[in-house]
Every structure is written in C-alpha cells, then in structure tokens.
C-alpha cells in the first residue's frame, strides 16, 4: 500500500465495478480517490458506472406502458 497513487487505470476500473456489489476497504477507497485525483480518464469511467446504476433503478421499476402508471414503487414489500 504506502503509495495511494499506485493503482493503474485498469485496477481502478475494477474497483469502481466492485464497489457496486461490496464495500471497498479503506485502503481501496484511498487508492481509488487518490487515482481519481490525478487521472482524467477514470472519472469518466466512474460516471459511466454511476449512470448505469441510475439506469438500473429506472429499469427495475419500469412496466410496459399499458400496464398502469409508471410511478416507481417505494420499498419492496415483505409479503
């Protein structure tokens, strides 16, 4: 660890994806932030993944047009 700038773009991209499914360790978070600070490409990649996250939310609650109002449901129920 030591150097927080040590991660390559490839490794940082991997962390950005991983973050969608599990929490990053403190060291990983520092490496990610440190790299983002000095890199122009990775923040764009990160924005893509955040856009995907947002898109997925819309998609999850989308129903076919005739099937009723498109108001997104709130929390999933406990049936």
């Amino acid at each position: 660890m030591g150097n927080i700038f040590i991660r390559s773009c490839k490794e940082v991209s991997s962390l950005v994806i991983t973050r969608e499914d599990r929490a990053l360790s403190v060291v990983e978070q520092l490496q990610l932030r440190g790299h983002m600070f000095i890199c122009k490409a990775c923040p764009i990649f990160e924005r893509q993944i955040l856009t995907m996250r947002h898109a997925m939310q819309q998609w999850r609650h989308y129903s076919e047009p005739p099937a009723g109002p498109s108001k997104p449901p709130q929390d999933p129920p406990a049936p």
């Binding site: 773009c9 991209s13 990649f45 898109a55 999850r60 129903s63 099937a67 999933p76 129920p77």
Partner: protein
Amino acid sequence: MSFENEVAALRNYLLRFARLQLRNDAWAEDAVSETMLAAIAKPQAFAGQSQLKTWLVGILKHKVVDALRSNLREVNASDLGADRESDELDAIGFKTDGHFHERPADWGNPDQDLSQRQFMAVMDACVAKLPPVQGRLFLMREWLELDAEEVCKELEITATNLYVQLHRARLRLRECLELNWFGIQKA
C-alpha cells in the same frame, strides 16, 4: 376495475421479469401463474399498504427463487466454469501498463433518456445476452434486490464466486449499453 382484473393487467410486467430471470418460458409462465393465483386467492393479504405491482413482485420473487432452486442446481457447476479465463476488463481496452488506450466515452447526462421505452428494450436485451448464470445472479441482485449473502445461500455459491460473476456481468452490460445505446446517442 375488479381486483382480478387489476392483477391480470400486470401479467406482462411480471412475465417480463420472470423470463429474464429464468430464461425458460415454461418456468416463467408457471411462476407468474402461481403468483397471480396466490394473489387472487388471498386478496385480503393485499392490504393496500403498497402498490399492487410491488406486492405482486414480492410474491413473484419467492416463486422465482423456488423455480431456481428446483431447476438450476445441475446447471450451475458447468456454467460457472465456462469462460473462466477471459478477462472482460480487457474489452475496455487497456495498455500493458494498465492505462486506457482511449479515454472512455462521455455518456453525457442521460437522465432524460432513461425512462424511454426504447432504453428499457436495450437494457432487457443486454441482460438477456449475459451468460445464463451471470444473468441470474445479476437479476437476483438488481431486480430482486437480494443482498449478497442471500444470493449465496439460495444458489449455494461462495461470496468470492458471486463477486467475480457480478463483476463480469456489470462489465459486459457496460459494454453492451455503450455499443447499443450511449455510443449511438453520441454519434
């Protein structure tokens, strides 16, 4: 509209999800039929505290997990082994030193695009193109909103394996969306 009709009107929505998740029309039809029957048999269970759609999806989740449990054990082992060697990260294009070959494309600010029906069709198609196991794991996380622990328990896989598969699924989806949606929007 009667309760039965309201339930019936949501059949297509439920079916779309069940098909994506189960990738088998017969299983999907079964799961949706069971869901609708269960709902109609117990209308009093729907106390109106949530949207009908939300309540039905809640029931369907259980039916889908049941179907996965009873039908998928044998598929898992072989599917998980497939394309284990490939590295989807490389599809993005990195040099040997780990830098980007080309700067990633700016996807813009697509807030206004994402509720479109066309986008949903692209998303459906991209998810459907994922390898079977990746697709199921991905949907369990993103649509069923199960946490990692639950998914591992349902499918009897390790957390490490789950994260590897989800990682790949997300990279494939990113690529598919870029090719079929965001790239085209910019061009």
